[in-house]
Symmetry: C2
Subunit: 209 residues, 2 copies
């Protein structure tokens, strides 16, 4: 496993990190940085290849186009987030404990992985149709996990929520927007911010904490 | 006053809407659409001029560059939001009533003006330094209005908040992110969403509503 940030953020790339040639990681990393800085449309395959220290021809060995790179970044980013959400909500703990864990980890991920987070959330419109369908399905799964947990908490009387769908949207939205505003100069560490946000969300859901 | 969406969204352009030639509105409108769709860096002045039904030369009569257009959009968008926030928090009403009004209007604005909202919030890094300074000052004023209101509510015992700064950040963040996910196919009107979000925010702030 390489020690690039991409590998750290996405230990779950298909086949496991070890299955990926290091060059592919360098390309993903360079693509994330270019897309985040200049946007997808203003980035060329040459920009990405140069950022990864390769020739454009070498890029094409790994990915057929910059759209394929965006698709892979977006899919892997969403898959990692879904996995994080599923791990957080799993287990026998009560809904309050599981929601706290979910918000802490979802928030901290979007602070730590803010550059990836921006690309993954703000360049959706640039995805080819088939890649968009994959990502849309992953997003729906994430929203469903959050909604299901809110409903579980409402059923046990831990939460009191007027509209589950809107509350679930607010929970994910708060976390996602962290990627927009969080910087290395922010006062809280990603983990501290996660703990603060978990308190705010639990109140929002009517939990008596 | 023209009836373009830009004029509707920003009735407060400097000198009032009537002071602006209609061509400048068409350019602002075309720039917002191009920046939102393709990003600032991939948009050319020719794209904007064409979108406004003009020649590039005609564009330069009004704005010296595409950066000047972005600066004007960003400044005016932030100024309009600050004005909306100030109007909402003003008056003699109790902090709960003022916060409810603020969240309702801030949320509804970001749903209605979502295309402008995306440009204003996601293209900050592309602003020239002097334009960025103007916008940063406006953002600070917006955050301060929200923080001051939370502090006022904490002082009267209407709110109970562990960290005012983080709570204020969460309140603005929830509203801003609406521009990312809201579409014309969303189930709620901008006003309905504003009312739902106001309920969630008031709970988050520990108001007994």
């Amino acid at each position: 496993m390489t020690s690039t940030p991409i590998a750290d953020l996405w230990p779950t790339l298909p086949g496991g990190a070890d299955a990926r040639p290091e060059a592919a990681y360098r390309l993903l990393q360079a693509a994330v940085e270019s897309f985040a800085e200049r946007g997808f449309h203003a980035t060329t395959t040459r920009d990405i290849a140069t950022g990864a220290g390769m020739s454009p021809a070498a890029l094409y060995i790994h990915y057929p186009s910059k759209a394929a790179l965006l698709a892979e970044i977006s899919r892997a980013g969403h898959a990692a987030t879904l996995e994080l959400v599923r791990a957080a909500v799993a287990g026998e703990a009560d809904p309050v404990t599981r929601m706290r864990r979910l918000v802490e980890e979802f928030t901290a991920w979007h602070a730590r992985a803010r550059t990836v987070g921006r690309v993954v959330n703000y360049e959706l419109h640039a995805l080819p149709e088939d890649a968009y369908a994959v990502v849309a399905a992953l997003r729906l799964d994430i929203e469903r996990e959050v909604s299901d947990l809110i409903e579980a908490g409402a059923a046990t009387g831990d939460f009191e929520v007027a509209e589950v769908r809107i509350a679930a949207r607010a929970v994910t939205s708060l976390g996602i927007d962290v990627s927009r505003w969080y910087t290395g100069r922010s006062s809280e560490t990603p983990e501290e911010l996660g703990r603060r946000y978990a308190e705010l969300v639990l109140r929002m859901l009517g939990a008596r904490v």
